[in-house]
Amino acid sequence: MQILRMSALGLAVLYLQLLVLPHITLWHAAPNLLLAWVLLAAMKLPRTPTLLLAFLLGLAYDLTLPLSLGMHATILLLLAELINRLHNSWSKNSPFNVMLAVFLLSVGWEIAKMVFHALAGHGVTATAQQLTIGLLWQTVSGTLALYILLLLDRIRFHVQL
């Protein structure tokens, strides 16, 4: 049941990421809800379903940007594995810790993107200023999104027959 709920949440997050968030940009950087989702999924689900879901969701995202096929699937997969391994040793009580985790994951995401683009010969066009503002924006919005997703995850529906 938890897997189903997390899949549905992931799909909703993906639609939001593709349809709504590109319109809420700051310095050309859109909030990264997928990051918040993978963080939540890796904490809530067992390892294998998390990896599978991260891969499938990342691949779905890649298909909307076919030239970078496989990039987001790889990033989400690696982040899911990383979170799955490390989240138990990371204190989640303090919002600052959560924000730091989101920031580090965002940095990892951006570095992975740059490496992929460099290897694919697409070139990296973002300036240092854009990158910094983008990372800060993604950290704030990602943390906020994570708490919202946690809240949504707590909602239970009971059907009485």
Binding site: L19, L63, L67, M71
Partner: protein, 260 residues
């Protein structure tokens, strides 16, 4: 240990396969996945995007439609103005000007029309005022940018008119709030429904401008003339635009110059 890393390894291998190759190769793989496994997802995404685009397009069309509507209204107004200046009963009028009625002075039958043309536009006192239905009145006061029109419904208005069929002359005047043709000879062959036009004795109007139709013929036992109740063509109460015929001067030997 192997089992623990099997899924991750397989998925990473898949990612590597997807990433390998040039842009063309990645596009081909993406096309294959888009048409098979991810078809429902991508199709729904495309549908949502097309709905949003349709809404934006719809909004743009609404704006264009509103602009076109304003343009149509503007053109209709221009056509109306041109149609109003097309006077079939005045084929050889040399100088005329279209004016908007911008106000009234007086009340009831004492009402006079204020128009938005004046001496700056060449208007003079006693210029004839009509619309595409027929005679309306005459200019009685002119300022640089506006003028006052005495309509035929005013008690002080007099106009030399004639029966279009029999050419019997008479005078149009307002009696008790109604328009009458007075001074009709008793033996004149005037009939109900006859059209009344301006006569050649008028200094204000050229001959032949329609005025109205005869509704009723009356005769007072003490008067040597008959009078006819007239239904005017022009409705003074709802006039929005008029045409002013600029100065047809010269005829001093007329009924109006004698006070009519």
């Amino acid at each position: 240990m192997i089992k623990r890393h099997l899924v991750l390894s397989l998925l990473l291998l898949l990612c590597l396969v997807l990433m390998l190759g040039g842009d063309e190769s990645r596009l081909a793989k993406a096309r294959l996945l888009s048409r098979s496994l991810y078809y429902p997802f991508l199709n729904s995404l495309q549908t949502i995007r097309s709905i949003r685009q349709a809404r934006i397009h719809n909004r743009t069309l609404h704006e264009q439609n509103a602009l076109l509507l304003l343009r149509v209204i503007d053109l209709e107004n221009r056509v109306e103005t041109l149609a109003g200046s097309d006077i079939p009963f005045l084929p050889t009028v040399q100088h005329l000007i279209v004016a908007d009625v911008i106000g009234f002075s007086g009340s009831f039958e004492q009402r006079q029309l204020i128009i938005n043309r004046g001496t700056q536009d060449g208007l003079m006192v006693n210029d004839a005022v009509l619309n595409n239905q027929g005679a309306v009145g005459k200019v009685v006061a002119v300022a640089p940018h506006h003028a006052t029109v005495l309509p035929f419904s005013h008690p002080q208005f007099r106009l030399g008119v004639a029966d279009a069929r029999t050419h019997v002359q008479g005078i149009l005047e307002n009696i008790g709030g109604h328009q009458y043709i007075t001074m009709i000879p008793i033996d004149a062959q005037v009939a109900l429904g006859d059209t009344v036009i301006t006569s050649n004795l008028s200094t204000v109007f050229p001959k032949g401008v329609p005025v109205g139709v005869i509704l009723k013929l009356e005769r007072h036992p003490l008067h040597p003339y008959r009078q006819a109740l007239l239904q005017p063509f022009a409705n003074i109460g709802s006039i929005e635009q008029v045409i002013v015929l600029l100065s047809r001067k010269g005829d001093s030997d007329s009924l109006e110059s004698a006070g009519y």
